[in-house]
Symmetry: C2
Subunit: 541 residues, 2 copies
Amino acid sequence: MKKTAEDNAWIKRVIPELAAPSLGDNTADVDRLVKGLRQRLKAVDVRVDFSLVKRLSRDLRAHDYCVEGVVYRDGDCWRLIDVFDGKEPKGVYGLSLDLGSSTLVLRLVDLTRGETLDEISFNNPQIEIGSDILTRIHFAGREGGLIKLQALVLDEINHQIGNLVEENSVTRKSIVGMTVAGNTTMTHLFLGLDPHWLCREPYIPVVNRPDLVNAREVGLGINPEAPVLVFPNVGSYFGGDLIAGILASKMTEREDVSFLVDVGTNAEVVIGNRDWLMACAGAAGPALEGGVADMGMMAAPGVIDTVRIDPDTAAFTIGTIPAREGSAATEARGPLGICGSGLIDLVSQLFLAGMIDLMGKFVPDRCGERLTEMDGISHLNVVPANASGTGKPLTLSQIDIDGLIRSKAAMYTILTTISKTVNIAFDDIGRFFVAGTFGSYINPRSAINIGMIPDLPLSTYVSLGNTSLTGATMALLGVDAQKSLFHIRDQITYLELNVNQEFMNLFSAAKFLPHTDRSLFPSVKTWGGDGAVPAGEKIGG
Amino acid sequence: MKKTAEDNAWIKRVIPELAAPSLGDNTADVDRLVKGLRQRLKAVDVRVDFSLVKRLSRDLRAHDYCVEGVVYRDGDCWRLIDVFDGKEPKGVYGLSLDLGSSTLVLRLVDLTRGETLDEISFNNPQIEIGSDILTRIHFAGREGGLIKLQALVLDEINHQIGNLVEENSVTRKSIVGMTVAGNTTMTHLFLGLDPHWLCREPYIPVVNRPDLVNAREVGLGINPEAPVLVFPNVGSYFGGDLIAGILASKMTEREDVSFLVDVGTNAEVVIGNRDWLMACAGAAGPALEGGVADMGMMAAPGVIDTVRIDPDTAAFTIGTIPAREGSAATEARGPLGICGSGLIDLVSQLFLAGMIDLMGKFVPDRCGERLTEMDGISHLNVVPANASGTGKPLTLSQIDIDGLIRSKAAMYTILTTISKTVNIAFDDIGRFFVAGTFGSYINPRSAINIGMIPDLPLSTYVSLGNTSLTGATMALLGVDAQKSLFHIRDQITYLELNVNQEFMNLFSAAKFLPHTDRSLFPSVKTWGGDGAVPAGEKIGG
C-alpha cells in the first residue's frame, strides 16, 4: 500500500478487513467494524458515536461490509467519523479556517494528498455589530446577543463552505474535519461561549484548551461527526491565532532562539525555542495597522505598500498593492491610501532623506513645497490630488508620525523587555518571524531604520504571511495535532507587562528615530549623517 | 472525610479545590475546574462535554467557585456530569432499570448511601404493538415503527421517573446516572436501534458492547449529561438481562463451578466460574412460564404457586401468591390460575402421589373423581368452580402435562449437554442459581422430582429473584461497571445447540418422570415406589 500524507495524520482513512456476518461469527455490526478498525489502527480504544451507531448497520450492509472508515484521534482513542464505499473510495477533505475579527479565510484541503484545493476569503459579518472586539463582547451580553453573533459567523461560514463545495465538486459529507485558529474572543463567539469575562478583570476565558467538538454540535454544514479542532488559547489576550503562528513558524523545533511578532492593534510577541516559550502582548497602537493615519487603510489592492525617496532629488517613488488577477484593476486610478507597512516605509524614507528629524518632526528645509499646514498641523503631501485614486491629496500629518513613533517605540520596548526577562541578547536571536498580513508586506530594512525592530542581519527576518491559516492547515494535516497544540500552549509562560518606571524609561528612549542609543542601530545611515544622536548619549528618563 | 459508598464508584461526587480567578492566575473556568477535578480524582484525563462548557462559567460563578462536581468514569477518562452547590451539597441519585418485554422495574437509588429509595414496576407499553418480541421487530420495520416503539417505552419510563421524582422529593437534575438491563431486542428498541437483523439469519445485533451514552442523546428525563449504561449482549439470543444475572449471581467470583439458569420462553443457561463461562439458550417451551396451560398465568397475587397432595388421602393443599400489602386482597376469592412454578409443584406432587405415571399420563385409579374428559382429553380438576377465583373450575389437562414434560426435558437436556461440553459432572456443581420471577417461586425439590434439574443437595439451589434489576443496581453502584460487564461478556463462550441425534437421544430419555435413568435421581421417592424405570434401563433412541 502506497504511503500517503494521511498515513500518520490524526484524521485518516482506513479500510478494515471485515468478514461478512455468519452463523459462525455473529458479532454485531458496530463491534465487527470496531474490531476491524482496531486491527488496522493498532489501537486499543476505537469509539463510535451514538448517532453513527444508529445508522451503521444500514451503511455496512449497503456496501456489503466493504467500507472505508474515516477516523480521528481523540487523546488515547480513535473515533469514527463516517464510513464510505470501500470498493471505490473517493477523496476526503478538510477545512482550515483563519477566524479573523475582520476577515476570515477558509481553505479546502485534500486530506489524502495533503494539498490545498481552494481558498476563499470573506469579511467577518460580525462587523455589522461592531468592528472592534469590545463592542461585540458587550453586544453578546444583550438578550440573544451571543446567539446572534454566533449565527452571523456560522451562517456566513456555512454559506462559503457551500461555495467551496460547489466549485470543487466535493460533498459536504466528504469534509471530515476542520481546524479553527482565531483570537480568544473570536473562538468564543464561534463556539457560542459567553465572552463576558474576557474583557473584565481578571480576564478569564470560558476555556483555554477546548476539547474536540463535532461539526454537528457547533452547527457547521460539513459531515456531522467531523471533529472541529479549535485552537487553544493562553488567555484573553493571547489566542489561538498566536498558537497557530508559533506552529507555522516551527520555532519550537529550533535549537536557537527566535522571535515571533504579530502586529495588529496589539503587538504580540513570542520568544523561545524547542525548550521554552515566553509570550507577551502590549498595545502597540493602531498606527501600525494603518488604521489611524489620515490616509491609513487596511492592506488591499491600490493601497501604498512601498515608498522610496531619492535623498538628492526628494522624488517619491510610490508602489501599491497590485489588484488580484481577474479583478477590476484599481492601480490605474492611483493610490487610495497607505497601509501599515507602507507607512513604515514612508516614515523610514523621510527619516533617511532628512525630511524628518530624529524626533520625527518635519524638517521644512528638506520637505519644501510638499509641506503644508492645515488647522495648525503640518501635513506632508505624499500623493497630489491629481495622482491619487481618491481625487484628493494623500497627506501625512505630524500627528500620524507621532502615532507611528509611539507604536514603534512600544514594539521595540516590548521586544527589549521580553528579551531582558529571558536574558537573551538581540544578537543571539536566530530568526525573527513576522506574522500576519502586516508581516507579509513590511520591509524589515525600513522597520529597522525607524528603530521598530532590532538591527539584525536582514536574513534573520522571515515574513510568514497568514500564520493563522498556515497553522490551522498544518494542524489539519498533523500527526497528533491537538496534543502538539496543547504542548505548545502549555509551554508558554505569559509575561504580564508591567508598565513601570523602567518600562517607561525604555519607551522614552525608543521614541526617537531610530533610538536615543544610536549604537543599537549601526546599520542605519541617514542623509548627510546629521540628526544622529552621538552613540551612547541618552535622552529622557 | 468519611468514606462513603461512592468513593470507588464509577459515578461519584468530588469537591475540587478551586482558587478564585485572579490576575495572577487567569486560567479559564473550564480548565480551572478540570485541573481541580484531576487533582481530586488523581486522573490524567478529565473531559467536559461541549454542552456543559457553554454554561460552566455561569455555574461556577453562581457558586463562587465552590462547587461539587459529579463525574463518571468512561474508559480511561472521567467525564463531568454536572456541578452543584459545593457549600451545601445535596444528594445525587441513580436509576436502575429492568427492561423486560412485558414488565419494567425502575429503581431509584441514593448513590451516596448506596441504598434503594424506591422502586416502581409497570407494564411495557410496547405490549400494545405485540406481546411477543417478533411482532415488535416486524413492527419496527414499518415506516415510523421503530420511532414509535422507542417513544412508547421512553415516554412511559419518563412518566414513571416523574412519579419517582415527585414521591421521593428529588429533582430530575439530581439523577446523574442510569443502568439498563434487558434482552437484546428490548435494549435495541430502547436505544432506537433497528432490530431488523436480530431475528434473521445469521442474527446480527447492531451492537454488542454499547458505549456509554448520555441521557440527552437517548431522550431520558434525567440530568441530560447523566451516563446511561446499557448492558452489553452476546448476541440476539443472549442479552444484557443474562449478563445482569451473571453479575447478580457473583458466579464469576467463585472458584467452584456454578450453573445459572433463567427460564422464560427460552431456557438460558450459563455454566462457569471466575476463570471461564459458557452459555447457551434453547427453547424450553412456554409451559414453564405458565403461558400455555389452560389455567396458566404469569406469577401474580392470587395465582397458585404451591401445591401439596397427601398421597394417602389425595387431598390437595393449594397455596397462592399473597396480595401486596395495601392492595385489594384477591385471596379471599380463591385461586385465579397457576404460574409456572405452581405447575411444576402440581405435576411433581401428582407424580409423587402416583396420580400420573412416569410418562406423565393420568392414573385413573389414583385420580378418582377429579379426572374428567373434555373433547376426548383428560382433565384433572385442581380447584372446583365454587372454590376458584374465576368462578370456573381450574383444571390441568393431559396436554398441559405433556407440554411441561417437553419443557423440563429440554431444560435437563440443555443442562446435560452444556456440562458434557465443558466436561463437568453435575456433582461438581457448587451452586445452581435460578434467576427471574420464575426462579423466586420455584421449589427446587419439585423441579428435581420431575427431573427438570439435577438431583443435587437442595442447598445447592439459590433463587436470585429479579437478577436484571439486581445486576443493573450493582452496575449502578459498581467500581468500573462497564469494564466489569465487558469482561463478563467477553469471557462468555456461546454454545450453539446442535439439535442432532445425540441431543434428541438425551431429550427422549429426559421426557420421563424424572428420567429413564432413575439412578440420576436417587432422592426422588414416589408413592409406593412403583412407576419407576429400573436403573440403567433406556427407553427410546
